[in-house]
């Protein structure tokens, strides 16, 4: 699946992207990192079909457009619905009730929210809300998972926890992942590939492969090669300014 020389110009004339190309390998975990306003979120929105390119095109390959899961910056849960109803939303809206059996409970358990099915979002902490949001995005078993700085608002301990959980889910199901982030360390620790974006309109400044096997242990954060990759990403980001 790839974006081919895609441009996005908003109605007010602001060009977020111009001639932007990015190809994702199926099953790959890719991070998209860049300064605020470089068009990272626009890339996600284009892929999700929430907005449409003003030039260029999206090429989904032979399989056609896959099922997509989206994790937003905010947990984006319906406050009037229970956790279970929130996680079941993709099934409710697409009418695939048959596929729902067990999928919601299963994914709630996988993100560590078993027993919270009947709780309302307000009863959950910020980290737990984000877990519910991830469970919702994955419950319908999408082939492509898009995440838009999902852990930005969380404290570091919760964030490390959620990173481990997301990686475990990815290893188990091998969906293609595009993870938009501000955090260099987050991107290096999680991804097989880090794409550095920058400039206005945004373009790819660096494309770095992180050649490190999974599962990645917390000790990786103390390794010299980890620091070197972080340095490489930082170098790429410097090119933006």
């Amino acid at each position: 699946m790839r974006l081919d020389a895609v441009g996005k110009r908003f109605a007010n004339g602001y060009a977020a992207l111009e001639g932007f190309s990015l190809a994702l390998k199926p099953g790959q975990f890719t991070s998209l990192i860049g300064p605020s306003g470089c068009g990272k979120s626009t890339v996600l929105n284009l892929m999700a079909g929430l907005s449409h390119p003003t030039s260029g095109r999206l090429d989904w390959g032979q399989a056609g457009k896959p099922d997509i899961g989206f994790v937003f910056q905010e947990p984006t849960l319906m406050p009037w619905a229970t956790v279970a109803q929130n996680v079941a939303l993709p099934f409710t809206l697409t009418g695939r009730h048959a596929a729902m059996d067990g999928a919601c409970e299963e994914h709630l358990a996988k993100v560590g929210l078993a027993g919270f099915a009947d709780a309302y979002p307000r009863q959950l902490s910020g980290g737990m809300k984000m877990r519910a949001s991830i469970a919702r995005a994955l419950a319908s078993r999408p082939a492509l998972l898009l995440l838009d700085e999902p852990f930005g608002a969380l404290d570091e301990i919760t964030r490390f926890d959620l990173i481990d959980q997301l990686l475990a889910l990815w290893l188990g199901h091998n969906f293609t992942t595009l993870f938009v982030t501000h955090s260099i360390t987050e991107s290096v620790f999680m991804s097989q590939r880090v794409v550095v974006m920058g400039g206005k309109p945004g373009k790819v400044l660096a494309d770095i492969m992180i050649d490190e096997p999974y599962p990645r242990l917390p000790s990786l954060r103390a390794e010299a090669r980890y620091a070197a990759w972080c340095g490489e990403v930082l170098e790429g980001l410097r090119r933006a300014t």
Binding site: N45, A48, G49, M78, T94, Y120, R122
Partner: protein
Amino acid sequence: MSQLWRILLPTLVGVLVLSAWEIAVRILEVPIFVLPPPSAIAVSLVTDLPSLLDSLIFTLKITVGAFLLASVAGVSLAILFAHSRLAERALMPYAVVIQVTPVVAIAPLVILWTGLDNAWTALFILATLVAFFPVLSSSLLGFRSVDRGLRNLFRLYGANPWQVFWRLELPSALPHMLAGMKVAGGLALIGAIVAEFVAGSGTATGLAWRIVESGNRLNMPRMFAALLLLSGTGILIHVALSALEYFLLRHWHESKIRND
């Protein structure tokens, strides 16, 4: 403060005030047509109850009918405006005109149109006009306050317009709708009473007319009894709508959550 005290304290204040009132009126020998003692009001409330109840039911029918129509019309228009800027631009100014024009000023006109022997309809229309705007403006605010992220989520999963309305917009707007309806409940009663005052006698025999009539006859105890019924009705409407609000929002809305 314990639960008992929270009930006992205001009750105690009420008893004290009523006692002081009763004693003061007796000692100072205040004429009954200036200020009747609470005991006389209580007696009047009991002896005049049949006729007062008739009037109460008359007023209550108008109030409840006007409240329901205002709620349905207000919410419906809010839905229309939320989905069509064109409709809002075309109609909103007229809704504002209805809101800012004092009901007292248009009452004679409406009564003239419906005919004096058709006072019920006139009062019903006037009370509805008074109650309608808060529902419209609150609901419209509600429908406009739908979370953008949730909207995107619904689009991502290809929700149809009906699903967006039923599962997203309506629940999002509900707290605002209920707030507007709470205001409208009180206003419908006020509208029904004020309009009846303006209508004068005619065929209207609601609580407002009881108050006017009692005043003309210097029957102050009955006037107070009617007033008492009136504020009791107002309180009842408020309590009922608050209960409805609590019931619908108790699980999820910040305003209904106790610190636990």
